[in-house]
């Protein structure tokens, strides 16, 4: 039995390249809703598909389960998780609360380069809306930029750690957002929210921040549009599993 581990590779390599690749693919497919909630994902099918034994596949599924991407029913099977509205609401509260605080911090002292970054992201979002890209692609592009905007705010405030932490538990929020923001006016609204937030930061209007962030992030948790169209994706007690 050894008594210590020698230093050599400073970095903790937590996963082989291939495993990481498979996990990223599964995550993407689930987040993009290509794999619909309720879809069965058996170890053997993945094992055959990716030409890898069940053991490493199980590692991946275990981790996905801990992050809410799938639900594991012992001896029955694994399914892509249904969207949990409770989680959406709670994560939304978490984000809005954190971002209010972060923006107040930033409104006192934001570096000029950071400001430029944020502004350029808004310009790209505007460009994205006006462009003739097809609807689905446009939405994805816009959302990527949306994330980049918020992530940048976290980074500028020295809170990258928390951004990454939240990202790990974002499955339900991300899918909800994707589904319910599928309208052009919605995108304009979101962009305007960003612009107003940036204005506040620049002009140090701390008192306006609370309301802005609230409306930007939390406003439509109970979107009727969502409830009318996507209830089949939502976690309900009676759902067949």
């Amino acid at each position: 039995m050894y008594t210590s581990i020698r230093i050599k590779n400073r970095k903790l390599i937590k996963m082989s390249h291939k495993k990481k690749e498979i996990m990223e693919k599964l995550k993407n497919d689930i987040l993009s809703l290509e794999l619909k909630p309720g879809t069965l994902i058996s170890e053997t099918s993945l094992s055959e598909k990716f030409n890898l034994s069940r053991t490493p596949i199980r590692d991946i599924l275990k981790q996905l389960s801990l992050q809410g991407f799938i639900d594991i029913y012992p001896k029955k099977g694994n399914i892509v998780s249904y969207i949990d509205l409770e989680s959406v609401e709670q994560i939304t509260f978490l984000r809005s609360t954190l971002e209010k605080e972060i923006m107040k911090d930033l409104s006192s002292n934001i570096p000029i380069t950071g400001l430029h970054n944020l502004m350029s992201i808004l310009a790209m979002q505007n460009e994205c809306i006006e462009s003739k890209i097809e609807n689905q692609d446009k939405l994805i592009r816009f959302m990527v930029l949306d994330d980049r905007f918020h992530k940048t705010l976290f980074e500028l405030a020295g809170r990258k750690f928390l951004w990454n932490l939240i990202q790990q538990f974002n499955v339900h929020y991300m899918r909800y957002r994707k589904l319910h923001a599928f309208k052009k006016e919605k995108l304009r609204e979101l962009l305007q929210g960003h612009q107003e937030i940036l204005d506040c930061i620049v002009h140090g209007q701390k008192d306006r921040i609370d309301d802005l962030v609230y409306h930007h992030i939390r406003a439509d948790i109970n979107s009727p549009y969502f409830r009318e169209n996507f209830m089949e994706y939502v976690k309900t007690p009676s759902k067949l599993v």
Copy 2:
């Protein structure tokens, strides 16, 4: 290949009883610092100790690693993680920010039974301080009550979900707190903080909350007492792993 999973056991049983037991034991031993940071934890040793094959043991270690309890160095070994001060600071910021918001919510409308619960916890904390219990046990008892106080606040505000989420990533904060609060005056100080917070909630003094929470949770991140005594537990780039 099946196409759906029949409902029967509504509950997702994520782990067998034995596995859960082992995991809880490991978590407790790490949190209590009985297992010191840097301690090697090999799969085979656990496997022999608990009379279980390596496969389920690996499941446990994988999960502990994701929650920051241990670090896995492939083909080298697993160690109990060193305390990551960055994580302590970030989680502290997260908690203080969330709790400020939660307390503002509660100061408007807190149910009377909830208030009684909180008060009885404070009474027990006071009793704990005055009692003749030995130091180590007293500290543990006090900290359990401390957690119960904060947890109750989360629950009353409908934020149990977030409390549980944070708990999963509390390893570094919990161990830091345990080490640096190891003084009697410290305990009185913490209790007084609780009492002031409760006062604010009762009297709806929202403007005082920010400062109180800040001091209660965040005040001594850079505790010299901690740095002088426990640096051997702290994650540093040069640490032998």
